[in-house]
């Protein structure tokens, strides 16, 4: 008996077909990914895990109407996927960015240093899934500035080093003139004493007082300078450490600059190359597909 009060429910057969279709769809997606991983087809893996980016960046590749929602299925596998994809990518980067040295800091997580020299800087992290560098912004800015300053024949810290060196010269001067000041102070004290003992007429008292005050002021000033001089040694030492720090940074930057010039010619080319890294890398994967085995 049909109950007229019952709402009209959707057809169970349709529901079955729909859900089965959806599961088949997801299952196919996972199957394709599975196969791509088994076959070491990194290119296809890139396409599967971010089809939109792939379609956008790889213009010559035909647009695939895959369902991006499937990609959510493997979100929790990103670290594992990153670990998988890193091997070929880092090999590629070694050739194209020979001055970057990668260090694994967790599953699928990589940071990289600029150069193999002493005190080399930690320069950023590698985003394997997006094939891009996350540069440390402050370090990156310093390097960019170094290239800008090149036209002025200057290094990043040239001005600052010069300023501190000058400061040190002045501090040294303070130390070196201590004897001179001691002598001046002795003379001033003698004069003050002499004035104090002079008997003068009442109408001259004011003038005498002023004269004495002027001498006392001079003495105070010298004593203040002495105090500065007392701290000078320590300040010089601190300044020397600062200069060392700055010189070290300049040296690091000059090595970084040399590395980029050697590989890319100039900073602009380096930046442009970074922009198209994803495309470049996928193209490389396509070009080397089939020789993969021979490569390894």
């Amino acid at each position: 008996m049909a109950n007229n009060n019952e709402f009209v429910l959707s057809d169970h057969d349709t529901a079955t077909t729909t859900v089965v279709q959806a599961v088949v769809n997801k299952s196919r997606y996972l199957q394709t990914l599975h196969q791509a991983l088994e076959e070491q087809d990194d290119r296809l893996v890139y396409q599967l895990i971010n089809s939109e980016k792939y379609a956008q960046e790889i213009q010559q590749a035909r647009h695939i109407s895959a369902d991006p929602s499937n990609e959510a299925l493997v979100v929790d596998l990103h670290n594992q996927l990153s670990a998988f994809l890193s091997q070929k990518l880092i090999n590629f980067l070694h050739k194209n960015y020979p001055f970057f040295y990668f260090e694994e800091i967790g599953e699928g997580q990589y940071q990289f240093f600029f150069g193999n020299w002493w005190g080399r800087r930690l320069f950023g992290t590698l985003d394997v899934l997006n094939v891009s560098f996350n540069f440390d912004s402050s370090e990156y800015r310093k390097l960019a500035r170094t290239f800008e300053l090149d036209h002025q024949q200057k290094r990043l810290n040239t001005d600052q080093i010069q300023k501190i060196s000058l400061e040190n010269d002045e501090l040294q001067e303070l130390i070196d003139t201590q004897d001179q000041r001691d002598q001046q102070k002795a003379e001033l004290r003698a004069k003050i004493k002499q004035i104090s003992q002079e008997k003068v007429m009442p109408w001259e008292a004011n003038r005498q007082k002023e004269e004495k005050q002027a001498l006392i002021d001079q003495l105070t000033k010298l004593t203040e300078t002495d105090e500065l001089s007392n701290n000078a040694y320590q300040e010089i030492r601190q300044n020397e450490n600062k200069i060392l720090e700055l010189s070290k940074e300049d040296t690091l930057l000059s090595y970084e600059k040399q590395s980029i010039v050697a590989k890319f010619g100039d900073f602009k080319n380096f930046e442009e190359q970074n922009e198209i890294l994803y495309r470049d890398y996928i193209a490389h994967l396509i070009a080397t597909r089939g020789q993969v085995n021979a490569d390894e």
Binding site: N116, W117, W118, G119, R120, N241, L244, E245, S247, K248, T251, S254, Y255
Partner: protein, 333 residues
Amino acid sequence: MLMNNTTENPTVIFQPDGTVETVVVDQAISTTTRLQNFNGELKSSLQNGLEFTALLDQLIQTNDPHELLDAVTQLIDYRLNSDFLIFPQQYSEADFYLIFLSRLLQQHQNNQLILQSSDRHHELYHEFPGINAAGYFTFQIDAQNAGGAYYVERQSQARLFYVNFSKHILKFNATAVTSLLVVDYQKKFVYPTVKKFVLLLIKIGHLFKEDFGFDVDFNILDQSNSAMYPVIKADLPAESLDKLFVVASKAGHMLKAGVNGEAILELKPGLIVTFGDEAQLGMTEQEQWVINVNDSDEELSWFDLLFNYDFIRDWYLDNLNLLEIKVDPRYFD
């Protein structure tokens, strides 16, 4: 005579069983006995002198290294004078060390050290051709340890090495090598001249090691690639290597970072210096900072680099309070 006073005092003998016995020595020694005693003393003093000359002969003439060592160890302890016989002309203990060293080299067909005699100071000294008057080398006796002496350049008081015949050791001194050979001689002489002298010092070390089995510490002169020169500041602050990084760069050399955190300086192909603690250099787990010099011919030591590379020398000398190569504190202060 003074002796008479003493003999008048009774001799007290404490017996092992606790009793005490007092004996009065017969005061009346006859003249004949006295003469005989005197003569006996003379004879034994002369005999003592003769034995000395035999040892001196041995020192001067023997071709056997062990006889040489035997002669010198006896001579440095020898008491030639007695109450009855004084020899007014004598060589000092330090002179015997010097003669010994010359003879040892001579036994090995090496005559580079010239044994000279100073009339002014009444002593022997060594001179090295090429260094000439800038090096007046003598031995200085170690007052604390028997059988020990320092090989010293007299004008600078630089104690280049310490040798001890009783302890069977020979130790070079980085401090003196630095002040004399790296700072002083570097200004006066070309490298080949100083290197020749250094090679002689190394040869001396090897002779003591090979001929007598001495324990030899070549210290800053050690040419072996496995030599680790320990620096006095066991945990070297990174700033000192930062300084090296900067000055090396100005000199056209890149200080590199090693995989274990050590610092590596390649001065030319086949010549690499490494700075790091012993753990980083794959030695022990100790945190003692060391310097290692690796050259393909194993001919160079830290000394050679200090002498030849201005930026390394300046850096080292500016930071001696941290970087100075450690020496054995028992023999060098």
